[in-house]
Symmetry: C2
Subunit: 138 residues, 2 copies
DNA sequence: CTCAATTCCTATCGGTTTAGTTGGAATATA
DNA sequence: TATATTCCAACTAAACCGATAGGAATTGAG
């Protein structure tokens, strides 16, 4: 339960690779090779990261990607949301009318609390923290 | 992302119904009607809850289910795990050799931290808390 | 200008999971 | 015996996921 998609895991590895190579532009193919990610699959992931405002994509020969911000300014939450959308235990957290038992039923607060707990954890950890291995030392 | 299955949501509603009717034995059909859950589907869910040691199932006419413990002694985590298995962001949290980049790579600690954050939240909230609506007031 | 390297877009595919149904066996009560 | 119930197993339709395929658009190098 609550499993993280392969896509998101790939994205994190790719981002961490970029964080370790900030001085240059890195091609999707190079990342794929280094991090053992299916090359064609990674292309789509990189586009999502770009659309999420996390990396810049430079097309054409010698093109590639680079981080748009310092790794310490990139909360893990942002990476996760760029790929899988926002953390959302149940639909009715955002749209209460989705619940078949009517708006704001009992469990709703419980899910809202869970969402904010997860969000907080993911927000408090930056890409830099992850790269340094200090992921849980807040 | 991190969405909760319909099965688990149904299970929680069913459990909360039982928590509000502790004095008697309640049939699966009655729960289904009250909580608007597909009756036949709920049967399977109730069996899982029974196998998880949360409810007792009494067969035959006038049979049904009841909570095996006081609602205040049932952490939400236990309900969730009875249905969807344990909270597990990525495989390698349990089995490190699953990681294609070798054991205990960088992101691993990050996922372990996330898992324990989620587990803690789900453990600290009891079925009783949920029924009372005091889900996040720890 | 041409070629190669690259991002970017769209479609498709096989596999797995999920939500739900069907049908019925076992069990208990009256 | 009839009925209400849990319990068990197979099945289905739809959605989702990881991955692949093919190619258009863009850019730099020669
Ligand atoms: S408002 Fe979400 S379960 Fe009712
Ligand atoms: S040990 Fe899990 S991603 Fe490497």
């Amino acid at each position: 339960m609550f499993s993280v998609s392969a896509k998101t895991q790939y994205a994190i590895r790719a981002m961490s690779f970029l964080a370790r190579n900030t001085e240059r532009v890195v091609s999707s193919a190079e990342i794929a090779a280094a991090e053992q990610i299916p090359a064609k699959y990674l292309e789509g992931i990189m586009t999502s990261l770009k659309n999420g405002g996390l990396v810049s994509g430079e097309r054409g020969k010698n093109g590639g990607y680079r981080l748009l911000k310092a790794a310490s300014d990139i909360p893990m939450l942002q990476i996760v949301e760029a790929l899988d959308g926002s953390v959302m235990p149940v639909n009715c957290v955002e749209t209460p009318d989705t619940c078949s038992l009517g708006c704001s039923c009992m469990p709703r607060q419980f899910w809202i609390g869970l969402k904010s707990t997860i969000d907080d954890y993911l927000r408090d950890c930056s890409l830099q923290d992850l790269v340094e291995g200090a992921t849980h030392a807040k």
